[in-house]
Structures are given as structure tokens and as C-alpha cells.
Amino acid sequence: MEELRPEFDKRGVKVITVSVDLPEVIADRRYLHGLQATMLSDQALVVTDAFGLRNQGVHSAPPSESAKALPVPATLLVDRDGTVLWRDLSENYQRRSDPSVVLAAMEAHFDTLP
């Protein structure tokens, strides 16, 4: 996702990531996900549940993981008033929103805002 950094900066988009990883794990692996994003640790799934994105399907976490459930992979575009303009839900955990899909969504939804 970090390859879209110039596109985020151009539009002044704040990027937030939410996962159940512990803060230190996120910090360790920050280089993979985006150096400039705000990366939240949602161990108790408080944020995930607020958005209704807890996975109700098969939970296949390795036994070493402490999280009791997981969010469904999802990407949201939100306008300045907090309204969701676009939502991409993954039906397969190994899938993540393709950067080109996210860019097209930003062009369609952010660039047409007044």
C-alpha cells in the first residue's frame, strides 16, 4: 500500500490500519505495511466490532496467536464528514485490496468531491 503514498499525499489522505497484532509486532513489521500510516493495535477487537467487521467464519489463527477472533480484511474510503464512500471486503483472508483498485476508488470517490 505504501506505493500509493504519493497519491495519498496529493489528496491529503490519512491512512489508518487496524489489525489484532500487538503494538510491538506492528512496530517490528511496520516496514512491510507503510511507514507513514497510523497503525492501530486492536487486540480486543474494539475497533473491528465498532465497524461490524469481526470475521464470523472459520478462525484459523496459528495456536501461538493470542487474538480470539479476527477482522475481515476490508478497506474503506471515508470523506471529511466521516461518511463511508467506498468499501472493499475481502472474501479470502489472503486477499488484500490491490493498490490499483484502491487508486481507482480514490479517483472515483475522492477526486469528485466538491
Partner: protein, 133 residues
Amino acid sequence: MEKMKPGTKIGLLAAAIAALTAWYWVHLTREVALPEDRTLFVIVFLSCVVLGVAAFIKRTSWFGAVPPVFAIAVGLFFPATMMISEQVVARDSAIEVGDTIPRFISVDDSGTEFDSRSLNGHLVLIKFFRAHW
């Protein structure tokens, strides 16, 4: 030493391809870089299954049966994980287009509290993902 049976050779080839592809898959998963389109992976894994079966048809030695069994197991396992990893959200509660995002307070990777109010007035991209693995 006795000459290697044709099936044993095919089995070894199948096992090598299966092992390399599986290693590459795991590597990409760790780097969160698995492509959206996994068709090629599925083709390669299923080819390993076909080669594994072909090895048995061509006959292997007793020990030579190990690599094709490995190739078939690996070749079936990875496509199977794609099939069972479907994600389900409770439809009535999942946030939708047109909804206002809820207020939330969380903590970032440096341990600093994050209040979603700080997003007011900004365009935002929020990305949920399972975990680093």
C-alpha cells in the same frame, strides 16, 4: 546402483516444484505480497499433483514413492486453504457505504492513544487486516 525408475524421476521433479512453489508462497505471505490473482499458483500446485500421480503410473521404487506423495499432498493443501478461508461478516452490522464511521479510541504501534476524532475534516483510508501472518 540400480538405474532410477522413470516414475521416481518424475516424482522427484514434482516434489522439487511443489517445495519451491510452497516456499515462495510462504515467503510472499510473510511479506504481505501475495498477488490478488492466484491462478498461476493453483495451476502450478495442481500440476504437481498430476506429476505425482504420473510418477506412480510410471512406477517408482519403494523409496521413490516418498517425493510424489509429498508433491500430491502439498499440491492439494495450498489450493484447499484458499477454498476454506472464506470470510464472513454479520451482514446487518457491517459498516456500509453511506454510513458514518463510529467514534473509536485505540492505541497505535508506539503505544500512543488514538482518538478517531482526529480524523474529522480529513479524507481517510482505513484498512483492516487479519494480522501480520
